[in-house]
Subunit: 198 residues, 2 copies
DNA sequence: GTCTATACATGGATAGAC
DNA sequence: GTCTATCCATGTATAGAC
């Protein structure tokens, strides 16, 4: 139960869990099918039976990541808070998700920031665009209400997402000395000159 | 001459150029020795003669990257400017280097941000620490001169480097619609609430 | 649905001639 | 120093029995 990334306990979820663990350590290309099935405790053909091939596993994991992102975005948009608080909630949700499934996030994050490295093709930029669009939307709502000073919405969004990406990156580098307050501190630092003081 | 990453034109530099091109497209693990020697126009044993093996090529490239970083840092520290201007110069130097050798930087950048992916071990975090230390140093100089408001030096440095990393990342994603002014704009945005207005 | 055993391709590295 | 030819390990994927 404890190390489970996904719900049920059939061969599918055992394979997905094993794949996430290994992909997040060594990457897709450097992980062999043999290792995956060994860690999952099944034999090779089981993998080819449930997922079409190694690439099928990869796609299953990324589809799951998409759903997570959508859910985070929905939660943030639905919250009845101010724009600044919405940004804080976004940061918090992302960090919570990261704490709960660190290797899953390490993997996704490295895919988005890294090179193809022999991975199957997948529209990874979508994750990024989705986040930028969300923050731009939040900025514009806040701007209308006089919560923020004038700035280019795209630049504002890039700043906010860039800072958060960097924090995630730092946490990926050394999860041991994780400073769970850093994202919030850096967000405040970045917002210092952008908020309207009234 | 035009696509050269390194000085002379012997087999060494042809191999290094070819390796950089391919590594930056597909990553280390996914690039085969066969491809490298084909692009370099030499045969396999030449690679094993000059560099001990594939890993030797990798190390040669990263050592070169280290020297570049040191040179940028020296230039920034030696400039007689204010702290804010030093940060701008840092951003400019990095961007210049990126414009001049895009695939070289794409590769280094993805190594730092990505996962091991079967790469040889190399102290990549050093690149990152070096930059953070530099910016913290600049901040403290500026703080003494009353140029900046009070902030945690480490957080300040994280913010500045994080923003720049993100800009590099955006440029790596789509070099075509490169917005060469973005780094400076985002730097200003981030510094808005941190500078002393006198 | 799940296993054992195996086919088949590719990649890193080297032997040995020139 | 550079080549051709080759060795050998590893990896993906499947055939065929249960």
């Amino acid at each position: 139960m404890e190390q489970d990334h996904f719900s049920n306990n059939g061969p599918q979820s055992k394979l997905i869990d094993a794949a996430i663990t290994l992909f997040s350590e060594k990457g897709y290309a450097a992980t062999s099918v043999r290792e995956i099935v060994e860690l999952a405790g099944v034999s090779k053909p089981v993998l080819y039976y449930y997922f079409k091939n190694k690439e099928g596993l990869f796609n299953a994991i990324l589809d799951e990541a998409s759903e997570w992102q959508e859910q985070i975005i929905r939660n943030v948009l639905d919250s009845p808070q101010s724009a600044t608080e919405k940004l804080l909630i976004l940061y918090t949700h992302i960090d919570d998700a990261f704490q709960e499934h660190p290797d899953f996030f390490r993997f996704i994050h490295s895919l988005i920031l890294g090179l193809p490295q022999g991975n199957p093709v997948y529209d990874l930029e979508r994750f990024h665009r989705r986040m930028i669009d969300l923050v731009r939307e939040i900025y514009q709502q806040g701007r209308v209400k006089g919560e923020f000073l004038e700035a280019d919405p795209e630049d504002f969004a890039s700043l906010i997402i860039g800072v958060n990406d960097f924090c995630l990156h730092l946490e990926c580098l050394n999860p041991e000395k994780g400073d769970s307050e850093r994202p919030k501190r850096l967000l405040n630092l970045a917002l210092k000159g952008l908020k309207n003081k009234d």
